[in-house]
């Protein structure tokens, strides 16, 4: 046994080269990485799909609705929902979905209108029917609807309200206001937050201290009473459009602090971050550092914050309009629709008036899922905090 064998002392270069490079993971840009991680988050992807659908509905609401949301049917006041069926009351299967018509009579004791299903009248549903006129984005006029009764009989999928207006069409119509008020509000918050937070983070010193203090104070103000007070000062004489913008401003007045905090924090952290240091050390110019490293990292955080700020605004608008001090009829938003559900008696008799709330919940859930997914994708190393 040769135990005294020692290593050759010179660098005897062998010709052998082993290349394992090809099994290394490919490097990809921050955006691609973020997208890949986002895709893993199933709920977030589902939320994104739901949001895309909702916003498509918000744009094409006239097409998706089955009737004009303002159209009154005095003979169908507070009609209950009539859901599409495939099987009729005798148990026969119909390939094409249909609804039954409604019979109504006045209850002699309560003087309430009572509805019963009229098995005599069967209206089958079909796609792309002609009906009430509407405009898309206020420009293109059409009377084509995604679906409706083939014979043009009134269809109340989700019931009607006190004036016999179709709740389904009204909820669809409400999509535009309820979903855009958050977007515009968040845009305002974003502008304010970027400016003020950026100032705070870049200038530092006393400016930073003062701004931080103001943000702290604004954060300690209870939102809803404050929103209530401010929106109550919006003159009743203002037009719906004016009110709409007034409310978005009111909503963003407290919300920008969240964006500002993130922006400032990121600025401070990024200035010190190792990779920026590394880029400096490697001789990169100032602009190169900013474009290549700061902006993508920073944008992802802002995107997360913005996504998570929108649901609060949607809830804010809904609450204010529900109380009657936000948007006012004839504008249609989910909060306005919920106004009718204010008293116990109405809800007990007509629970379907709560249905707009379901859509609020779905939209807010979707935004929260997407925001959570984005956060995990932007920063996979810290768990969900705050």
């Amino acid at each position: 046994m040769n135990t005294d064998q020692s290593l050759p002392t010179t660098q005897t270069k062998h010709s052998l080269t082993i290349d394992w490079e090809d099994v290394k993971p490919k490097s990809s840009s921050q955006g691609q990485l973020m997208f890949r991680r986002f895709r893993k988050h199933k709920l977030a992807v589902a939320g994104l799909v739901v949001l895309c659908l909702f916003y498509a509905v918000a744009v094409f609401n006239g097409f998706v609705a089955t009737s004009d949301p303002a159209k009154r049917n005095s003979s169908y006041v507070y009609a209950p929902p009539t859901l599409p069926r495939f099987i009729d009351h005798e148990g026969n299967f119909h390939f094409r979905p249909f609804v039954y018509g409604l019979k109504s009579r006045i209850d002699p004791d309560t003087w309430e209108r009572v509805y019963e299903i009229d098995h005599e009248k069967r209206h089958s549903l079909s796609l792309f029917v002609r009906g009430d006129k509407y405009r898309i984005l206020g420009v293109f006029e059409s009377d084509l609807h995604l679906f409706g009764t083939a014979d043009g009989a009134p269809l109340f999928l989700l019931g009607t309200d006190s004036l016999g207006r179709d709740m389904y069409s009204r909820i669809v119509a409400g999509t535009s206001i309820s979903l855009t008020i958050g977007l515009i509000g968040v845009f305002l918050s974003l502008v304010l937050g970027l400016l003020i937070g950026g100032l705070s983070g870049l200038v530092g010193g006393t400016t930073d201290l003062v701004i931080q203090r103001i943000i702290e104070i604004l954060a300690s103000i209870p939102q809803i009473p404050f929103w209530m007070a401010l929106s109550a000062t919006v003159p009743a004489s203002w037009s719906p459009v004016q009110t709409y913008f007034a409310i978005t401003i009111v909503l963003s007045l407290l919300s920008w602090t969240r964006v500002a905090r993130v922006v400032r924090g990121k600025f401070l952290a990024l200035r010190e971050a190792d990779f920026v240091m590394a880029a400096y050390a490697m001789g990169a110019g100032n602009w190169w550092v900013i474009i290549r490293h700061l902006i993508p990292n920073f944008l992802s955080y802002v995107l997360v914050t913005v996504t998570l700020t929108i649901p609060g605004m949607i809830l804010g608008e809904t609450s204010l309009s529900f109380l009657g001090i936000g948007l006012k009829p004839p504008a249609i938003s989910w909060g306005i629709l919920l106004q009718q559900a204010q008293n116990m008696r109405t809800i007990a008799l007509r629970p379907w008036l709560l249905l707009p709330g379901v859509f609020v919940v779905i939209a807010v859930l979707a935004f929260n899922f997407v925001g959570d997914g984005l956060r995990d994708a932007a920063d996979p190393y810290t768990s969900n905090r705050f």
């Binding site: 007990a348 709330g357 609020v360 859930l365």
Partner: protein, 331 residues
């Protein structure tokens, strides 16, 4: 510790000042001279308002002066005389109305806060320790739902469910027979019977977000070195989790009282309107609808001041239990 409390209390003064400015802006913002509308209202009720009375009122609220004088006048009367002005709608001093309603608001809010923490901390710890277990998924889902359902909607749905399936109507803080009765054991029990509804309704969203926060912080802490050190000592897992990781994780949770409290008081306002509670919410709402701005502004001021004081108390509590803060700020 004492210097810390003193400094924090002094720091509160500019905060309160800014809040008072905002509140005054609310009072002052509505266009039109509210004295005129007040007088018009009195006259509509059949009262005769003399010139002197109008002048006296003008002087009291400094209505002929510029805004900053009006503000100083307003804040001076509050600080010096505790005079928050007159509610024109109720024709009573705002102070009296505040004294009636505020205790209930504070009571409901504090109880809700306690409930929120008592529920969220253990659930958050459990969710973190059993990350990705079915219970964790259930809590996470419930948490998302709790965040997504607006308070008032939850109140409405609860009201509907209880009415429809149990035939009881929930709402209010007392049964009719106790509403004006003097305090007694029976009245207190009646209060507890009613109180759980607003607590659940107001507390749900706060609990939901607190569970998520607690879970996140706890996951962070569980990954830290000192947890392994504690395990390496031979401590059992439950001791490691409760005595070490959770003890550290609870601190940031307490520090978020600063934003949980505004959330609760905010939610309380709207839930109280729906559930018809004798708290500040419905009164604020009515005052806004009737442009009774002194009442509204005072509520905003007091509610915000309450949250600021609540936050201060939570910070002091935090400094008391967390040695890092205690020593950092003292030295």
């Amino acid at each position: 510790m004492f210097t810390y409390i003193l400094r924090r209390t002094l720091l509160m003064i500019p905060t309160l000042f800014l809040i008072s400015v905002i509140a005054f802006a609310v009072i002052d913002l509505p266009p039109g001279d509210y004295l005129t509308s007040y007088v018009a209202q009195l006259e509509a009720q059949g009262a005769v308002v003399s010139e002197e009375q109008i002048l006296a009122l003008q002087k009291r609220y400094a209505l002929d002066q510029p805004a900053h004088v009006r503000y100083l006048n307003w804040i001076w009367r509050i600080v010096r005389y505790g005079d928050f002005g007159q509610s024109w709608n109720w024709n009573r001093p705002v102070r009296e109305l505040l004294a009636e309603r505020l205790p209930f608001t504070i009571g409901v809010s504090v109880t809700t806060l306690v409930f929120t923490y008592l529920a969220a901390i253990p659930i958050g710890i459990y969710s973190a320790v059993r990350q990705y277990s079915w219970a964790d998924y259930i809590f996470t889902t419930a948490g998302f739902l709790g965040l997504a359902v607006p308070n008032f909607l939850l109140a409405l749905v609860l009201m509907y469910v209880f009415y429809r399936y149990f035939g009881v109507s929930i709402g209010g803080m007392f049964s009719p027979e106790f509403r004006d009765a003097a305090w007694s054991m029976a009245k207190f029990r009646d209060l507890l019977n009613h109180l759980w509804v607003p607590i659940i309704v107001i507390g749900t969203s706060g609990t939901a977000s607190l569970i998520r926060t607690m879970r996140g912080v706890m996951l962070d802490e569980l990954g830290k070195d000192y947890v392994q050190t504690a395990r390496a000592k031979g401590l059992s897992e439950i001791v490691v989790i409760v005595r070490h990781a959770a003890k550290v994780a609870v601190n940031p949770i307490i520090s978020v009282i600063g934003w949980t409290l505004p959330q609760i008081i905010s939610g309380e306002a709207i839930v109280a309107i729906v559930l018809n509670l004798p708290t500040t919410g419905p009164l604020l709402y009515q005052s806004l609808l009737t442009q009774d701005m002194y009442l509204a502004g005072s509520f905003i001021f007091i509610l915000s001041a309450l949250t600021v004081i609540g936050t201060l108390l939570s910070d002091i509590l935090l400094a008391w239990i967390d040695p890092r803060i205690r020593f950092d700020r003292e030295g």
